[in-house]
């Protein structure tokens, strides 16, 4: 990126050395490392640490050193001037100078306020006594750890998230702990009464006592001026050598108010995180009020940091539009999740599963056919799935009957059926694709300070391939980093080259008749000159599928398999799978294959699951000659395209067969071959409901019955075994072709690149697909016509090199 840098760097001063402020700085350094001289003021004597993990430190599960996020060396490496232990006393907005209590000064061009929040101190007599503390920072945590060594009775005021974590930690350190909570049940802002009571019961089982509904009147001192007991309004007293005030937090706006910045339950900021009073000044994190909300969870803070950084970097592109948040409790062994309007009530529908003896409670709240809230206790593995459904606002009518049982209830493979990461041993494998065990993931999260699922994927490869272990990895993130793994609710960018989503790109291609990859990049302001290995193949596909016969294929934007028309193997050789229509072959074909195997010393021949033969270990330079000798059409086994149509023998031979499934399969395959798609597509046709061709787990599965054909769609036999859903019953083979073709064309037009039909249908809903194809005959025919138009005259890449744009130079090495 070219940019005329000013001779003298601008000055950025950050007030607040915590997670929000430093994350914003990190994001800024990523995109504009040279733009600012940066100075950071922090009131605490420590470098930036993970405040969320104070509870595990208190509980003795982690140490202070382990929760440091940015060691002092990080500040030095990036040339950041760090003032720790210096609280900022005032800011002169006219002269643009920040002054700390000790007189240290720093001038700024831009100022970032990240002053966080203060604990709310109950205004009761005795609140200033020794032994009365809050729970906010490392000093508080150390004070509690010290108190636990020499005192017996602790009282925690506040039965919210923070109070319960404090209580649990103090109990683990051997104190007798009572939690005083004025509201009718624990964590009332995150849980409903049933879940709150389940939580209370399991904490009681750990030896924590509760005073629910009790109203604190005063803290009574002993003769030395240390707190001795807590007195309630009803006159009762309970002993207390340590009182922890955890009755909530308030945005810390003292400094901002003294500067004359508009504050209203937080420093009021715009969608660009600039204060509404002074655009030179930004605020992020718990101190900032965005559209009336001050967020206290890490995901929104990080998202704010990112947007703020793009503005500091003068890109001016990001907008923060608020976050939907979810909560998990970081008390080891207690699984709890809530999000959205979990209370339900009038005007809401609820689905509830309640097993008090098994310690499991789940409530899903639905409004207008959408999931709007969830409260889970005891089994939270599907929390992230529910959260995703909520953020996407997807209609749930078609999955309502299995919603309660979660996304992972059927057929997940690769991690021995585990659903509770906490119960797994360090050596247990979490990600079966990449062989990553629990210990390795936890270590990477700790050592590298990872917070999001994407970061874990990048660093460990766990959940980066098939994604079936995503739920487990999210759980690990939660209790290792305390991170709120949730992604922001905004649409997902296609890749790092752009902020545009797949939907945006496809829309632009269609609306503006874009025909080239470069055209898309220019029109949509790509940040990279020619994209990356993720976006280029996707855009190439979108162009070809949107404008058949107009857009030109770009082989250099295709993955090697689709460029060499064979599957690359781990040793760099290739495999060749010729097409066998409907799984039928002949002596002549088999003889040619056998001859080629001998002639080219092909080391292995395997029967595939799709009823064809796979020739493995072919050298790249031999590919064109092997294709020629075999003389059979390309099987496209290497492509995001129609693979096979698997068939049973059908009525031609089988004594049970009701329909000629082999013929039907061959007709389908001849009609659909050479069809590129967002991902691979597999079909099957069975001649009777015994379903020997396994039609129930195919993208389109056809089952012959006496009176016609049943069509099933969006099945998958892979990563996540997913049974295909019944789509329609039709009478004739022509109908089978038309309905299957229309479904696949719709998928080609609406599916995101690399999205299988199962994921496509689960995203848009089967009702949508039915509406477009079953309810609208004109549209169905139009889709089928479009597909036939796209496929008409498509070349076979194994024989028509020029038309298929196969670059033959790839098959020859240059001699040295």
């Amino acid at each position: 990126m070219k940019r005329d840098l000013p001779v003298q760097k601008q000055k950025l001063v950050v007030v607040g050395n915590g997670m929000a402020g430093i994350r914003a700085v990190e994001e800024l350094l990523k995109i504009a490392p040279e733009l600012y001289d940066i100075t950071v003021f922090g009131a605490e004597p420590h470098p930036n640490y993970n405040r969320i993990l104070l509870s595990p430190v208190l509980a003795g599960e982690q140490t202070i050193d382990e929760i440091i996020l940015n060691p002092l060396s990080w500040y030095a490496e990036h040339g950041i001037t760090l003032h720790t232990g210096k609280k900022v006393a005032r800011v002169d907005r006219i002269k643009r100078v920040v002054t700390a209590e000790d007189g240290t000064e720093a001038a700024y061009d831009r100022l970032l306020l990240a002053t966080g929040s203060n604990p709310f101190i109950l205004p009761v007599p005795g609140k200033e006594l020794s032994g009365v503390i809050t729970y906010r920072d490392i000093a508080d945590t150390e004070a509690m750890i010290d108190a636990a060594k020499s005192y017996k009775n602790a009282v925690v005021i506040g039965g919210g998230l923070l109070g319960l974590e404090a209580a649990n930690g103090l109990r683990l350190r051997g104190m007798d702990v009572t939690v005083v909570h004025i509201m009718p049940w624990l964590m009332e802002r995150q849980l409903d009464d049933t879940a709150g009571q389940l939580l209370q019961r399991s904490l009681e089982a750990r030896g924590i006592r509760f005073e629910i509904g009790a109203n604190t009147e005063a803290l009574i001192p002993d003769k030395n001026g240390r707190v001795m007991c807590v007195k309630f309004k009803d006159g009762r007293e309970i002993p207390a050598d340590l009182v922890v005030m955890a009755a909530g937090i308030r945005p810390n706006t003292t400094l901002a108010e003294s500067m004359g910045l508009h504050c209203n339950r937080g420093i009021v900021v715009s969608d660009t995180l600039q204060t509404t009073t002074d655009p030179r000044i930004y605020a992020v994190g718990e101190c900032a009020a965005h559209r009336g909300i001050a967020y206290g969870l890490v995901a929104p803070l990080f998202e704010q940091g990112k947007v703020c950084a793009t503005h500091l970097a003068e890109f001016g592109i990001g907008r923060y539009s608020g976050s939907t948040t979810s909560t998990k409790l970081k008390v080891t062994g207690i699984d709890l999740f809530s999000a959205g309007q979990f209370m339900g009530g009038d005007g809401f529908e609820q689905i509830v599963l309640n097993d008090p003896f098994g310690g499991v409670y789940k409530k899903l709240v639905i409004k207008d056919d959408k999931l709007v809230g969830a409260c889970l206790y005891g089994d939270t593995v599907d929390g992230s799935w529910y959260f995703k459904l909520m953020r996407e606002g997807r209609k749930i009518a078609d999955i309502r009957d299995k919603l309660m049982f979660g996304e992972s209830n059927i057929g997940d493979t690769g991690h021995e059926g585990n659903t509770r990461a906490a119960a797994m041993a360090d050596s247990d494998e979490v990600c079966g694709c990449n062989g990553v065990n629990k210990g390795a993931i936890c270590k990477a999260i700790k050592d590298k300070g990872l917070f999001t699922l994407d970061e874990v994927r990048k660093h460990t490869k766990a959940s980066a391939s098939c994604g079936s272990c995503t739920g487990l990895v999210e759980q690990l993130l939660m209790f290792t980093a305390g991170g709120d793994y949730s992604k922001p609710p905004t649409k997902k960018a296609m890749c790092g080259c752009t902020d545009a989503s797949h939907a945006d790109v496809r829309q632009a291609i269609r609306d503006e008749h874009l025909l080239t990859i470069d055209g898309v990049y220019k029109r949509m302001g790509w940040r990279t000159p020619n994209g990356c290995a993720s976006c280029r193949p996707a855009i190439n596909y979108y162009l070809l599928s949107s404008w058949p016969k107009e857009a030109e294929d770009d082989p250099q934007s295709r993955y090697i398999n689709e460029r060499s028309h064979a599957n690359i193997q781990k040793d760099g050789t290739y495999s060749v799978i010729p097409r066998m229509w409907g799984g039928m072959t002949s002596a002549d074909e088999l003889r040619r294959i056998a001859n080629a195997v001998d002639k080219f010393n092909i080391p292995a021949v395997k029967v595939t699951g799709g009823q064809r033969l796979d020739l493995l270990g072919v050298k790249k330079e031999d590919l064109p000659a092997v294709w020629k000798d075999i003389g059979m059409p390309s099987g496209h086994a290497y492509a995001k395209a129609l693979r096979t149509v698997k068939t049973c023998v059908g009525s031609e031979w089988c004594r049970f067969g009701t329909q000629d499934s082999t013929k039907m399969g061959q007709d389908l395959e001849r009609a659909l071959w050479r069809m590129y798609a967002p991902h691979k597509v597999k079909l099957a046709v069975s001649g009777c409901p015994r379903n020997c061709a396994e039609s129930g787990i195919k993208d389109v599965g056809v089952i012959g019955v006496d009176s016609g054909w049943e069509l099933y769609v969006a099945g998958n036999g892979g990563i996540k075994t997913e049974v295909a859903q019944f789509f329609v019953k039709v009478k004739t083979p022509e109908d089978v072709l038309e309905y299957s073709g229309a479904f696949l064309q719709l998928y080609r037009e609406e599916g995101w690149y690399l999205e299988r039909t199962v994921h496509y249908v689960s995203r848009v809903g089967l009702d949508h697909v039915k509406k477009k194809i079953l309810d609208d005959a004109t549209n169905r025919k139009a889709l089928w016509d479009k597909l036939q138009f796209s496929l008409d005259g498509e070349p076979d890449p194994w024989f028509e090199f020029e038309r298929a744009k196969v670059d033959l130079r790839q098959f020859e090495a240059v001699s040295s």
């Binding site: 590298k448 020619n530 290995a533 250099q556 993955y559 090697i560 090495a813 240059v814």
Partner: protein, 116 residues
Amino acid sequence: MSDWKMICRVEDIPVLGARRVARDGAVAVAVFRNSEDKVFALLDRCPHEGGPLSQGIVFGESVACPLHNWTIGLADGCAKAPDVGCTTPFACKVDGGQVYLDAGELRTKAVETAAA
């Protein structure tokens, strides 16, 4: 002094693509051409599990390995963070539309590396 050996013309390499330069008894060298017609040469072997980089997708000044999608810098042969590892870069120059590699390097550099 370098002993430059003419390999091919720039246009013999596809834009945003690569060609393999075979070596007797040693792993091939991959020569890449990017969208600005800059030419780079690396040992045709990913530092991760030995994938043939010449078969990858080229973008900017990087190539994505076809086996596990590691991103390798064309200029230095090193993997982009968080992956770690480097493959051997080869000296390479373009003169009058011709691509040259160093004959000495072709003969001696990374010849002991086992073929993938």
